[in-house]
Amino acid sequence: MISLNINGRSHQVDVDPDTPLLWALRDELQLTGTKFGCGRALCGACTVHIDGEAARSCSIMVGDAAGKTVTTIEGLAGDIARAVQDAWVEAAVPQCGYCQPGFVMAATSVLGKNRSQTKEAVLSQIANICRCGTYDAIRTAVAIALGKLNPASAEPRKQESAK
């Protein structure tokens, strides 16, 4: 049994310490919002926060996550997370949507370190993959989130180009 702190609660999981955290979350704890995409930390669909830092759970072993604070998309909370998720909906980002929890986790982590970065700075720190090509919408969403988090110095919003 390994003890994991997930979303503010302690869980005992009966897995080998070399099990990727992703599968402990999905199969043992039924937290399926964290997605499997590549298994090699290449796509970011499995992004969680470990001690507040974005991490790719497919390539982090349960043994290494023990004793740390893990947050998944299901446990995401706070004003930054709310701003990001609201922005994602407002900008109508998701298409198939499979990769989006990973993007939300990545964006929230980046903004959590500094909520008044430029849009470009935020985007440059997100290296996830979306096969539906929602990148333009994600750029818009990040701008909206920054506007929500920095009401005084909101960047002008990009006009929807398809009128």
């Binding site: 399926t32 919002g33 994602w88 298409q95 499979y98 985007l123 290296a127």
Partner: protein, 746 residues
């Protein structure tokens, strides 16, 4: 670029000298006259099943217990927004707020067949409305509807369901009005409708839900349905209901299926195509491992969790039999294409269209070029997976797929039961792009679950399995040549392509009882064959060359190849003629003598031209060249023009910005149309810049996103979408952005 273009006989062409024109960018949404003609027969004969407390209002609509109206959608939601579109159309006709309507999966039933997807593949010129074609399409429509083949693909979802949903909604509203007239004892003309209420002048009113039971008992009447045109929601769009769930992790995909007692399987296929499993042995005593399944060309280990199944598979002793394995490598494929195009050995063109009249007598400058394009993987974000339980009574499958009909058929075939005994549950798809039209992953999941009777087993493919056992966009090679007259316009045009037939292979896999290979496969020449340009003495030849590599439907199918070759060659001609590519295209369109297709393409081209003139090209960084490339596409009855702004620094190609002008007839939900165009362009650009699946002695080379790179936020261009509604019949949207980006960049 991985889509290699061999230099034409004149050597390298100085590209990106592109484009001057005058004018300003036209903006704004032009909502054209509606064009959908109501086919009221679509409301007859079948009623959506209703449980206790529900009330069916025809084939497509019913009241749910909570008073909301449910619209049945026979297409899978794989990102294209078809659920939102169904809600939009039903709410528009029923005059309801969007929140009062929700989309639900339609039952797997012949009533919800999608003939459009197959009709679009018939080998007829889409521009010709001749009697023979009309009669044939009508006949096929009847046959396909009778077969009840449901499918999500070919950019057909909206075209397939928009009209019947509207007709059913109009009929339902009429039934509600009649029920209200009876309830209040007034003539229907005195009734007023607002916000889900029907009221009479003295103030009495009833909600739709209160009238539902009475309305459901009334016989449907034929209702005159107004043509589809701009309305409360049509032409404006609505917010997708799935955005929040897809952002907070609560949306369920096939891979998120969690049934009580469920087991998990990890699967590995033969490393070489065509290889089979000789023998596989489990290592004993591994925790959680429940067993091993030997398939024909795969082995699977089943365990209490996926990671335990993977551990079991990694430690299993597996022997493959390569006696019948393919030994094909990429170079063999292109050599075979070359041989076919050179008419070596036994190759004859399978299909010759528009055989050039007096091509031989054309004189003047000849331009010739050879192009090739690689195999491509789909790489959906959600790897292939399916969950199945097999019991004595039948089979239940949870999986994302692009055809409930074929899923049912495949599962039934594997389990040895009738199709009626198979229930398919379809959660969201984590991407389709044509991959989930092939249902091998469902067949294998059922085969594996069969060994664990009564227990649901979820089979998950690793990314490597997903990439190495795909049905690839075929590689192809084309020889294109033309003779130019004194004005630089082609007096003859010869287009010859060597490529395997996706349809032949697919029919063999999916419907072995049907005869594949009888009709020519239109997809092999889609994008070249029905050109909107006026080209004299045009000849199109297709050589089917199949070395056994599995090929399948990949976003836009044949258009992704032919539009690239064809439009790139048009650029070469324009350079030879000394005319700017946009102007050259304008001249070729003028030469088409006012055909409908040429008019629509011209309107799109004009907007590109205006944008180009009005928008200054930013210089590249020091040492880099910047330029713009153009391409026109017609596919799935829609037109797209693209202008790509490209920066070339040595071997580095960066696409900075793309303008796409779209004419899909009428954009019902313009923001979603724009989202789909952006999506398709990114998909096509990932392929054009990075995509390549190589084969080495029967092995698939790439196996993950490091060896099969795709665009990310860092290199994805900004894409500006302009919608230019022509008012023509509604065309497809989901795939139409893909073909044009490679030639616009290339």
């Amino acid at each position: 670029m991985t889509t290699d273009r061999k230099p034409s006989r004149r050597g390298k062409i100085a590209r990106r000298t592109f484009l001057i024109a005058a004018g300003v960018v036209g903006g704004g949404l032009l909502v054209g006259a509606g064009t959908v003609i109501a086919r009221l027969s679509s409301i007859d004969g079948y009623k959506l099943p209703a449980d206790d407390g529900e009330a069916s209002l025809g084939a497509w609509l019913k009241f749910a217990r909570d008073g909301k109206i449910e619209v049945a959608v026979p297409h899978q939601e794989m990102g294209q927004g078809i659920y939102a579109l169904a809600v939009l159309l039903a709410a528009e006709v029923l005059r309801l707020p969007i929140e009062a309507v929700r989309a639900v999966p339609a039952p797997v039933h012949a009533r919800f067949a999608n003939p459009v997807v197959l009709l679009d593949g018939l080998p007829f010129d889409g521009h010709n409305d001749g009697l023979f074609q009309g009669a044939s399409v009508w006949t096929f429509d009847k046959i396909l509807r009778a077969l009840g083949i449901s499918a999500t693909g070919g950019s057909t979802s909206t075209r397939n369901i928009a009209e019947p949903i509207r007709a059913c909604a109009a009929s339902a509203l009429d039934m509600l009005m009649r029920a209200a007239a009876e309830k209040f004892g007034v003539a229907a003309s005195q009734l007023k409708i607002a916000d889900g209420h029907i009221s009479i002048p003295d103030g009495k009113s009833a909600t739709y839900a209160e009238l539902a039971d009475a309305a459901a008992k009334l016989p449907p009447k034929t209702i005159a349905l107004p043509l589809l045109s701009a309305g409360t929601y049509v032409g404006k769009g609505i917010a997708r209901a799935d955005a929040a769930a897809k952002t907070n992790g609560s949306a369920r995909y096939g891979i998120d299926t969690r049934e009580p007692g469920q087991l998990y399987a990890a699967i590995r296929h033969s490393p070489r195509l065509g290889g089979v499993l000789q023998k596989a042995t489990l290592r004993e005593g591994l925790p959680g491992v429940r067993g091993l399944v030997e398939g024909k060309d795969y082995v699977a280990v089943v365990a209490s969790s996926y990671s335990k199944a993977v551990a079991g598979l990694e430690q299993a002793d597996v022997v493959w039999n390569d006696a019948k394995a393919l030994s094909v490598s990429t170079k063999d494929v292109f050599a075979a294409y070359r041989a076919a195009l050179d008419k070596g050995a036994s190759y004859q063109p399978r299909w010759v269209l528009d055989k050039a009249g007096d091509a031989a007598s054309s004189t003047g400058r000849t331009v010739a070029a050879t192009y090739d394009a690689p195999f491509l993987a789909h790489a959906t974000m959600e790897p292939m997976n399916a969950t199945a339980v097999v019991t004595d009574k039948g089979v239940k499958v949870w999986a994302g797929h692009q055809s409930g009909y074929l899923a049912q058929l495949r599962a039934a075939g594997v389990a040895g039961v009738s199709a009626d005994a198979v229930e398919i549950v379809t959660p969201y798809l984590g991407g389709g792009f044509g991959r989930r039209a092939d249902l091998d992953y469902i067949a294998k999941a059922v085969e594996i679950a069969r060994k664990f009777n009564g227990t649901p087993v979820q089979t998950i493919w690793s990314r490597a399995e997903d990439m190495r056992d795909d049905f690839y966009r075929p590689a192809a090679m084309a020889d294109v040549s033309a003779t130019l007259d004194a004005n630089g316009l082609p007096s003859s045009f010869l287009y010859r392509i060597a490529v395997p037939s996706v349809n032949d292979q697919f029919v063999k896999r999916a419907l072995p009882a049907a005869m594949g290979g009888v009709l020519p496969d239109r997809s092999t020449v889609d994008g070249a064959i029905f050109s909107f340009y006026g080209l004299r003495n045009r000849s199109i030849e297709n050589f089917t060359v199949d070395l056994g590599i599995p090929v399948g439907f990949w976003r836009s199918v044949g258009h992704s190849l032919n539009n690239f070759f064809f439009e790139t060659f048009i650029d070469e001609l324009s350079v030879e003629a000394g005319i700017k590519p946009i102007d050259y295209r304008a001249q070729l369109l003028k030469a088409a003598n006012g055909t409908e297709a040429a008019k629509r393409a011209s309107a799109v081209l004009t907007r590109l031209s205006r944008f180009d003139a009005a928008t200054q090209l930013r210089p590249g960084k020091p040492g880099a060249k910047a330029g713009r490339g153009v391409a026109l596409s017609e596919c799935f009855h829609s037109f797209v023009g693209q202008l790509a702004e490209v920066e070339v620094d040595g071997r580095d190609i960066r696409v900075r910005r793309v303008l796409a002008v779209v004419d899909c007839g009428l954009a019902i939900d313009p923001p979603n149309v724009a989202a789909q165009i952006r999506s398709a362009i990114i998909y096509g650009l990932s392929a054009a810049l990075y995509g390549k699946v190589d084969f080495d002695n029967g092995r698939v080379v790439p196996e993950n996103f490091d060896t099969y790179p795709v665009l990310t936020l860092d290199d994805a261009p900004e894409i500006v979408v302009e919608i230019a509604n022509s008012g023509a019949d509604i065309g497809g949207v989901g795939e139409i952005g893909t073909p044009g980006i490679a030639p616009a960049v290339g």
